[in-house]
Symmetry: C2
DNA sequence: GTCTATAAGAAGATAGAC
DNA sequence: GTCTATCTTCTTATAGAC
């Protein structure tokens, strides 16, 4: 990886652990293996590093959204998957989302950084809400909505059903971010949650 | 209010908005109406102000826990209330918790400060988890457990039922902390959530 | 307890050689 | 692009008068 990218990578790690204000330019440089003044050949100042991290995330997100839209448009394939969604499929959907968001290195660091910096300005708050509130609700609402349309889940309010599916996942995610030692217990709770969700919104046929 | 207390109050406000590292001692002093050096007659250093805020919160919490235990011990009175818990009682329970945590000035500022500082050290992470995860789950689990025992809510897993009640409340709370303009919509969602919760865990008799 | 003056040090950023 | 040396500014904290 080239120096410019490595600076972003190390900066993100440090920002996610200590917050922007507690990270010194020299600290980032040291981890990259250069001296602080050299860093200024790559970025104009400390803030430019932070902004570049946000930009990179926006790019990654756009790509991901594009990829999801492609699948989303391929409604035939998607609905086939979810038409015969068993409890195991539902468990997989929840676990995959949870473990991807929890363990994916980039996601984890970016989420923790946003958690720390979310009250600094509205742009950061909006990014947080988009990534960890609105987008997951939209995506999962779409999937659960398809299952409900096929009659396998029963509800007259898909939005609230999606809230009931996602809020516990979000809640467990924030617990594990704060204290990774709670992860095994959280995974058990996650499975119990989804099984109970499946029972509550019980399928009409199986 | 005496100067010593006013320092804590203004510091908490600033810490909750910008985070500890972005607040300068002179800034706190200015809001109190004194100069920075005068502040050092009240607190040894900047860190001592932060620690005093944590201490004060611990005191307030202990008092609150004590008050709750008194009611908690008075099981006769409590269970009477929840034996005939209607949907309206359930809505009230959720709304009261939500609005108290959301609007109580001290709570709001302290929660935002902890949100920002939670990854700085384990003690702060533990306080956050205790106040906004474990304690609400324990308290609400106790109340919902009493209702379930009386047969008005049906479940074989009180812990998951409590998760299904509380996780959406927590989720909506963090959204409103980030963006107060979402509050009206969140309150609507809260009511819909509780009504749906009530239907899902449907009472056997009414 | 509050002030002014100031010390002490940290951290961001630049200059200029290589 | 990286380095050493250095500047500048900001911030915490102290000294000592009132």
């Amino acid at each position: 990886m080239d120096t410019k990218k490595r600076i972003l990578d190390e900066a993100l790690t440090l920002f996610s652990e200590k917050g922007y204000a507690n990270v010194f330019v020299g600290e980032i440089a040291e981890r990259v293996g250069i001296k602080a003044p050299s860093l200024y050949k790559h970025y104009k100042n400390k803030r430019a590093i932070f902004d570049a991290i946000i930009d990179e995330m926006n790019q990654r997100f756009e790509e991901q959204a594009k990829a999801m839209n492609i699948n989303g448009t391929d409604a035939a394939a998607d609905s086939k998957i979810y038409m015969d969604m068993s409890e195991e499929h539902l468990l997989k959907l929840g676990r995959e989302f949870f473990l991807y968001y929890l363990h994916d290195d980039y996601n984890k660091r970016f989420r923790k950084m946003l958690t720390i910096e979310q009250f600094q300005d509205k742009e950061l708050a909006d990014i947080y809400t988009k990534l960890y509130v609105d987008d997951p609700m939209t995506y999962q609402g779409m999937l659960l909505g398809m299952v409900a349309a096929s009659g396998l889940l029963k509800t007259d309010n898909v939005a609230i059903m999606t809230l009931h599916f996602y809020a516990p996942i979000y809640y467990l995610l924030t617990i594990c971010d704060r204290d990774p030692s709670r992860e095994p217990k959280a995974l058990e709770t996650l499975d119990e949650h989804i099984k109970q969700f499946n029972r509550l919104y019980g399928r009409t046929n199986k």
